[in-house]
Symmetry: C2
Amino acid sequence: MSAHALPYRPHNHQACVTQALADARSICQQQNVRLTPTRERVLELIWQSHKPLGAYDVLAKLTSEGHNAAPPTVYRALDFLQQQGLVHRIASLNAFTGCTHAGEHHTGMFLICRACGNVLELTDASVSTAIQNAANAEAFRAETVTLEVAGLCPGCQAEKAV
Amino acid sequence: MSAHALPYRPHNHQACVTQALADARSICQQQNVRLTPTRERVLELIWQSHKPLGAYDVLAKLTSEGHNAAPPTVYRALDFLQQQGLVHRIASLNAFTGCTHAGEHHTGMFLICRACGNVLELTDASVSTAIQNAANAEAFRAETVTLEVAGLCPGCQAEKAV
DNA sequence: CGTGCAAATGTTATAATATTGCACTTTTTG
DNA sequence: CAAAAAGTGCAATATTATAACATTTGCACG
Ligand SMILES: [Zn+2]
Ligand SMILES: [Zn+2]
Ligand SMILES: [Zn+2]
Ligand SMILES: [Zn+2]
């Protein structure tokens, strides 16, 4: 059901967006929450961007298409989308990105290219396990994990080599 | 040489601070960089707090003790301290905490209690390895890792149970 | 149907976090 | 000492996020 983005490969991105929106509608229906036009449009804008979008980037796009929006409009939509697991906030960028594992219970790990800005979301069991073990060893009850790795994606490594 | 804080146990914290400052002076001397009075005072303020301190918290303390400080004063000191590996920025809190492994080459993992606000910095080889492996599997060259785990520390779990 | 509640949105203002640019001072270096 | 580099003071501004309250919309219920 989920649209798993192919890492770093060119692809028909509009298909990703369409799939993500369809998934979102389905998830919201199941959860009996309302994916209102504003919320859906915000989700679409975030998905359309290949790079994480700041709240004010979203706001600017909404404004430019005639939507009478203010910061709370955007932040409320983003809060909703996060709660439904449809987008993630990247703390190290103050930006938001569409979840590529929506509907699956997961903790995301993000590979953020510092050159091109692209972000790849992963789920890796051995990482999750290691983190849980480390927390347990300190008797710490882990609830939410923020794991963001900055570096160079394959494409940008190649460019540097040239 | 480093002052490794005892996790979540009461301790003579002034000793931690003194040790951390001594370590910092030594590290800066080795690196041939200048731990100026402002920088040293900012580091001390951060260490004196048990919880991560926001830049404007630091600024307020400096101001209250007569230092003629503005935001750039603090951010510059913090940038310096981060570069020297003496403090870490906690992205999910927009706050700063003293590094308990200063001088050691390490990637920190932070256990952040959402109840009491305390932060414990860990280094865990199996976590680092798992993250590196996951990044390598995507041909991603990892450079900096942000790993912040929010949850409940042992003490606050106990309180909840009461 | 209405009527009434809860959820969602609009609107204004403001808070919190962070950076830019430029002048000035201190430290280092030759 | 003089020049260069590093650090600081200072004012303004940029960026990110929230508070507070009025208004509208969707929906359950009678
Ligand atoms: Zn996800
Ligand atoms: Zn890249
Ligand atoms: Zn550290
Ligand atoms: Zn606690």
